[in-house]
Subunit: 242 residues, 2 copies
DNA sequence: CGCTACCTTGATTTCGGTCAAGATACGTGG
DNA sequence: CCACGTATCTTGACCGAAATCAAGGTAGCG
């Protein structure tokens, strides 16, 4: 059985988009994992998958559509924590406390896989590759979160938007979708909220990038016209010190 | 064998401060884990434990002293990612890529435990409680990082410092040290860098908190005089909208 | 077709960054 | 033990990026 075939299998089995990388599991193992996964019916736009305070029982993977996670503070203000695209796993922050500390909501009609955590735990003790996979997945989320921290604490509004767009572009590319032309599944408000910027700032920067021929924006449709300059914008390069 | 005894054991075994919570492992299991841990000699102030680019082979736990993790950008600027106190584990962001993407440096003379990752992986497949513990630990780091993200994207300078101090206070308390009087192991620069603030701002806010009788600051020695007001300051509460 | 949610643009304000200058603490070697 | 040099910390004056406030414009949906 060829490697390429294996990869196809793991791509078709929805749950495995998130759980597997090529070569890491045998077919047999894939079947085992796949058997523990529930394919629930699609979640409608603005419906929640789980809410802060809910008991934790499963991890989730996006099959199609998009999810945002967020917390709500005492004043009822929403704080966007992250966006999850097809093939990505969410809900991992709930493991430690056994309760969801954030909420997850569909940004559009979204198909998700539910992965019961206790079964995943059992299975990952048996299937060594699955365990290392889970460790890598969790570690990846940590590394990504720390990247975002850096962005939030050091970068200008323009740099944040630049990074955000490149990040999305890269993630779409990973999923074999166009890295240059895509639809933003979230509202401007959510982008601003996520990046620590006011909506107005997000809007202004989008129009500026468009004026400078770096981006073509039409509502939620985005086209990256000049990837190189977008990289320059994203990578800081405010004057060196001393 | 009483629970309290168990707890003492896990506290004395350095590695287990980070790896264990009371009741989660049997004594037998604790011994197993403990056997895989290397107790290296103390790391002197400003010496690195690992550096960005180093091959990943171990996780680390602080036994005494303090560690900061950081990344260095193209311009040579340092970006502080986190501070780790006794009983806390660091290096987990390296699992996913198998290479350290951040560096770790001792803020003072620091004793650490080294936990070889491949042995930890093997052992955690055998000892179920250890596996769930690792998952929780990684998840905890994710949740903490997301908390920080929220702070960096939404909170004012004063709120950040307030939160930072309360967070340290809480972590010292966990380790049975005074939650009101402690020594900041890091320089003001590091605090500012971590919180996305200029050193000058950190300094000004420290003096302001001192003037308002909320804090007593003497160099790196800090005493929290009014915990309640510090909480108020930390918890946002800038005017409600609409 | 009209309502509501979302997006854009402009004018004004403000928090915190930058620059500048001292003050204080610290480690090292004489 | 002290003197010197360097790190770190503090304080003040000024400035600028982005927030806030305000007002229209646009689009998706029932």
């Amino acid at each position: 059985m060829s490697d390429s075939h294996k990869y196809v299998v793991s791509c078709q089995a929805c749950s495995l988009n998130a759980l597997c990388v090529p070569h890491s599991l045998t077919e047999e193992e894939i079947e085992l994992v796949d058997a523990t996964v529930k394919r629930s019916k699609p979640v409608q736009r603005n419906k929640t998958v789980f809410e802060s305070g809910d008991a934790f029982s499963s991890l989730y993977a996006v099959r199609s559509g998009a999810i945002k996670t967020y917390s709500v503070d005492e004043d009822g203000e929403e704080h966007v924590i992250g966006f999850y695209l097809p093939g990505e796993m969410f809900g991992m922050d709930a493991i430690s406390r056994n309760v969801h500390i954030s909420s997850a909501k569909a940004l559009e009609t979204t198909a998700i896989c539910e992965i019961p955590y206790n079964r995943l735990e059992e299975l990952s003790a048996k299937v060594h590759n699955l365990q290392s996979h889970m460790y890598r997945l969790l570690s990846r989320e940590i590394a990504d979160d720390q990247d975002l921290q850096l962005m939030l604490s050091k970068k200008t509004a323009e740099e944040r938007i630049g990074n955000f767009l490149l990040n999305l572009s890269h993630r779409y590319q990973m999923r074999r979708l166009s890295p240059t032309t895509f639809r933003l599944p979230m509202a401007r408000t959510d982008i601003g909220n996520y990046l620590g910027l006011a909506v107005e700032t997000v809007s202004r920067i989008f129009t500026r990038l468009q004026k400078n021929q770096i981006l073509k924006v039409d509502g939620k449709e985005v086209e990256i016209l000049d990837h190189n300059r977008l990289c320059e914008i994203a990578n800081a390069c405010h004057e060196h010190k001393h």
